[in-house]
Amino acid sequence: MDTGEVISVLGAPGSGKTRLALELAFLTRPEVGAVLFHGKNPLGRKRSLQPQQRPRAVTMLVQNAEDQLFARTVFDDVAFGPRHLELEDAEIERRVLKALSAVRLDPDETSTRSPFALSGGERRRVALAGVLAMEPEVLILDEPTSNLDPKTREEFLTLLEPLRGKGAIIWLTASAEEAARAQRIYVFQDARLAEVQSGANLLRDWRRLAIAGIELPALFELAAAIERRGCPLPPTGSAPELHDAILDVWKTRHHAG
């Protein structure tokens, strides 16, 4: 992976994404192979896993990260990571305030509040700020929008957009729509890498994704449902073509009936 690159790992729930994320974040040792960081394996060859060996430049936003908040104030929680980097107080404060504004939380208003007084969506933003304050070289997002309602989800996605180009981002998700935002997409099935594709081509293969249990955009879910009811659609490339194809099928049926 290159600096500033965004790659996504697309896989159905239970396909082993979280396990992969933990391995990529140097939190578990892979059973076979190794994860390299700057061309080296920081975990070495020893069997035991020392937390000190982890490169601090790799951080992860875990699934449902809002459950991991614990400090008395939002400020303290976001500062938790940077404090472990042994930075000076002024630098910690700068990073916390910057991270809070990056997730569009007003530092004046929220930083002294208890994280538990915030809404679920806001808490997840605080969790993201906590990770961003580490100023990581590699940011791993494990299903960053899981369990969010559609509106909060959209808001959260707009927060992630400006992160592009700063460090490398590895985005694990079950949604084809989210995965398509990346430059490279790895489709992950049964803990194995099934395909490598570029973002624009991903949905061309929507039939295979549907079989693999991946969540598709609404139009493609509709198409998959139509085909499941025994009405094949013509092979189509893009969303507008598929849209027309569905309309055609509907019209023919309607006239016949």
């Binding site: 937390p51 601090r56 992860m60 459950d67 980097l85």
Partner: protein
């Protein structure tokens, strides 16, 4: 997630004689052996009690590796306590090593206590290895249900214990998840975390919150399914069979033998 999570109390599914025994028989036999271990204060009694343990063990040879996995960590503790007893019991000194004074009485007491403790742990582990936690709970309810008459909420206590036991693996998984999450944002959470107030908070608060939430949800879903709204019947009715009678007879015979040896023959 991080390494394999230990299965709590290591219930091993299987079809040995131990598995087929009624959980109530196993519970009573366990009490019998514990009683044996406690009253066996003389060498003869301890040997007799251990013989019973061996007989029970022979009934479940293939379980011994699993049993060893449970006992091994506890063995270290038992031996450690034994060593402490050796040096803190007053009596005839064996040797003086500055202020450490092991005594003959201490050695005798330590051997007796470690043997007794080991036997108790061995039998309890045998019960939990061959009996699903819920069956243990049923047996406990059967054995102590009469306390309900004197307003001891036996059923609730047992429900709590049973739920607690089933949730331990989940708790372990949850702990590993929190550790991974906090490490991912820079915390060490190694052994030195125990001394670091903030690191402890980072671990304990999310864990506590998750469990309170889970407890709430569980209570609601149990009440939604009419828990606590009247007498409950059981899906699995237990029945004593010939096997149980035989097992009970063996346990009773040994207990009597141990009692006779300890109190009558060698008072």
């Amino acid at each position: 997630m991080l390494g394999s999570s230990p299965r709590f109390l290591n219930f091993e599914p299987g079809d040995s004689i131990r598995h087929r025994l009624d959980p109530r028989t196993k519970l009573l036999a366990m009490f019998a052996v514990i009683a044996d271990a406690l009253i066996a204060s003389v060498p003869g009694g301890i040997i007799a009690a251990y013989l019973l343990g061996v007989v029970i063990g022979l009934m479940a040879l293939h379980l011994l590796p699993a049993l060893w996995r449970v006992l091994r960590p506890l063995l270290v503790l038992i031996i450690l306590f034994g060593l402490i007893i050796v040096v803190v019991t007053p009596g005839n000194a064996v040797i003086h090593i500055s202020f450490v004074v092991p005594t003959y009485d201490g050695i005798a007491l330590a051997i007796r206590l470690t043997l007794q403790t080991f036997l108790i742990i061995y039998t309890t582990s045998l019960l939990t290895i061959t009996t699903p936690p819920l069956a243990v709970a049923d047996a406990l309810q059967w054995a102590f249900g009469w306390l309900e008459r004197v307003r001891v909420p036996v059923r609730d206590i047992i429900a709590m214990v049973a739920i607690g036991l089933t949730f331990v693996p989940l708790l372990i998984e949850e702990t590993q998840k929190v550790i991974a999450a906090q490490r991912a944002r820079g915390a060490d959470l190694g052994m030195n975390a125990l001394l670091d107030e903030q690191a402890m908070g980072a671990l304990m608060i999310p864990l506590l919150l998750a469990n309170l939430r889970r407890g709430d949800e569980l209570a609601e879903s149990m009440e939604a399914r009419l828990y606590n709204s009247g007498p409950r019947t059981s899906l699995h009715e237990y029945r004593f069979r010939r096997l149980d009678a035989n097992a009970a007879a063996i346990a009773l015979a040994f207990t009597t033998a141990v009692a006779v040896i300890s109190f009558v023959l060698l008072p």
